[in-house]
Symmetry: C2
Subunit: 201 residues, 2 copies
DNA sequence: GGGTGCATGTAATGGGTTACATGATTCT
DNA sequence: AGAATCATGTAACCCATTACATGCACCC
């Protein structure tokens, strides 16, 4: 029951509802707008565009340019907008995404505390980078289009990312303190086990 | 290249490093311990146990019980522990999980503001439920095993969930206020700014 | 008699990434 | 000369969920 046909087609419809685009553009646009919570690979985009076209949800026309490859530009149809709306009307089912970092951390006892410390430091780095992107590029990109009726929703999504990243950073700080304590204890207890300190990078 | 063989086998090794278990137990244990950030279905667990056994990373013996079906109980081998450690030594690569709720919210303009409000309310509900589980059941479960060397790591993972859920709840509150304003404006053509203290649910 | 829990497994299906294949132009 | 960007697509493969198949015991 309950086909959970994932939203890989609908994200294309949604983007094409903003403006007509080629498959390549869709990839770029998705990456730079919703990329921090939704990715699509070209291996999905191109076949899905064909399926959408076959279903009459998008139209395509080929544009020729000198000096550049031909572009197949897609635009959403009335039927496509209807489909988009009916997809939006179905409440998203809550999902539990897998988090490999947490999984490894969970089993951290089997490995010297420096290793989990590495996980957490890396996590913090990634969060700082993403937070920077959200607070600068993403905010500015939305501000440039602040008249567009979707802008308030874009801001909400960005805000979600900001708050989540800040929570992760808070956690990382707290957790690093804890891990350092643990590493310190292990070191002073053991009879000076000479370990290779390949912690740095 | 870089086979990103996902961690579906390693989670089994990790759990079996705590104590020997059957496939059925593994499913239950995973759900109730790391289930808020890692799920495994039986369709993965049973075939993967066979593969682990074939690779000599786990042993199995069949237990017979009257009144209950036979159980195939698996235990981790020395080789399995080695494998677990070498998996833990590889830093988890940062991943960007898909978030369908955010995706639908991002395209919220195409639908009356009440619809995205539904998404956010549902999100808040789920977060409250999970937060309750983490602060009660999960914490207590760890406290019962506080002597186990893995306990500190389990606490860190739980803490991650708590902070994340609180961030999501904060966001949900903030976002609902915003969405109510938007719905209000749409309704009375942006005339009165009077807010209704209780928007219908 | 029927639902629930224990218990193991396979098959069908669907979803998604990555590698491969091609090829022109522009930038360094 | 070689790398990067623009541009489209297919094929192989991997991963994962779900449905199906089986069956006993216990409780209501």
């Amino acid at each position: 029951m309950a086909k959970r046909s994932s939203s890989s087609m609908e994200v294309l419809l949604g983007m094409l509802a903003i403006e007509p685009m080629s498959g390549y553009d869709l990839g770029m646009t998705i990456r730079s707008s919703v990329g921090y919570f939704w990715n699509e690979s070209y291996g999905q985009i191109y076949p899905n565009l064909k399926r959408l076209a076959a279903a009459g949800l998008v139209n395509s026309k080929t544009e020729r340019h000198k000096g550049k490859p031909d572009r197949r530009v897609y635009s959403i149809t009335k039927k496509g907008r209807e489909r988009l709306k009916s997809w939006l009307s179905v409440e998203p089912q809550p999902e539990i995404p897998r988090n490999e970092m947490l999984l490894k951390l969970f089993f951290g006892e089997h490995v010297p505390a420096e290793v989990p410390m590495g996980y957490v430091e890396r996590e913090a780095e990634v969060c700082r980078a993403l937070l920077g992107f959200l607070e600068r590029e993403a905010r500015e990109g939305i501000d440039k289009n602040r008249h567009y009726p979707g802008a308030p929703y874009w801001r909400m999504a960005v805000r979600f990312g900001e708050l989540e990243m800040r929570a992760h950073l808070l956690w990382a700080d707290e957790t690093l303190v804890e891990l350092k304590k643990m590493a310190g204890k292990k070191r002073n207890h053991g009879r000076t086990k000479k370990e290779k300190s390949h912690a740095g990078r």
